[in-house]
Amino acid sequence: MLLIRCPHCGDRPEVEFRHGGEAHLARPPEPAALSDAEWAAYLHQRRNPRGPHAERWRHIHGCGRFFNAVRDTLTDRFLATYPTGAARPDGTQQGDPA
């Protein structure tokens, strides 16, 4: 079974985790100032790279916390996991757009 390293609990089986979508998306500070197209892009448009991708994950059947991970979408290999709020680790550049 694939092991995922929770920043709080250490290496744990993948069935304890849930995927939470793309990481590092900042909510626009003034949504009302955005055009419909800009708001729709914030809500719905996500990168879908072939290669390393920064994602939110939740250790839902463990400590329950969200954290971030860089996962290679081609190999399913986790390159790094790190706490929510921390910067994306060096050396984990985003993969090419699909």
């Binding site: 463990g62 329950g64 916390r65």
Partner: protein
């Protein structure tokens, strides 16, 4: 009825544990001393560890989340004690005594029964005395706690999942 049953097989015993008071505690780790004072027990701050004594136990479930287990009287006395200890400091204490129940699984090799449905490494090296965690047994969420060095496990499960979990544990035990 599964809640009253005791099953013995291959030197391993699966039994329902008596009712107890249970609380879900949420507070900032920095405020843990306040909870410790009210509990009369050091709230564990290290991940995946529990502390126990004097009829009470505190199980680390997350960086700001604990499961408190206590003898029944605590259901009346713990909330006011926490309110006094925290005063104006934010915290959350929710009584969940009836939400879940507990099974005890004990005897040499008991971890092999758990391995039927739990994907964790339950060896001494990985899951030593005093370790606890929320995890899965099959598709059922449970809290697993190993109170001491002997091969004895405390299993907490939400009530509606309990008959299924018990049946699965029973099958695993009888298959040994």
């Amino acid at each position: 009825m599964h809640e009253n049953s005791v099953i013995r097989h291959a030197g391993i015993t699966l039994r329902a544990l008596p009712g107890m008071a249970r609380f879900a505690l949420r507070c900032a780790p920095a405020d843990a001393p306040r909870a410790s004072q009210a509990l009369g027990l050091d709230l564990p701050l290290a991940a995946l560890t529990a502390s126990a004594g004097a009829g009470r136990a505190a199980l680390w479930l997350g960086p700001d989340e604990w499961l408190i287990l206590a003898e029944d009287g605590a259901a009346e006395t713990l909330p006011p004690a926490m309110e006094d200890a925290f005063a104006a400091t934010p915290f959350s204490l929710v009584e969940v005594s009836g939400r879940q129940l507990a099974y005890g699984l004990s005897g040499p090799g008991a971890e092999e029964v758990l391995a039927e449905g739990c994907p964790l490494d339950l060896s001494d090296a990985a899951f030593g005395p005093g370790t606890c965690t929320r995890t899965l047994f099959g598709k059922v969420e449970m809290v697993l706690w190993r109170p001491g060095p002997e091969p004895a496990w405390h299993i907490e499960v939400w009530r509606s999942f309990a008959p299924h979990l018990h049946a699965h544990l029973r099958e695993a035990l009888l298959d040994l």
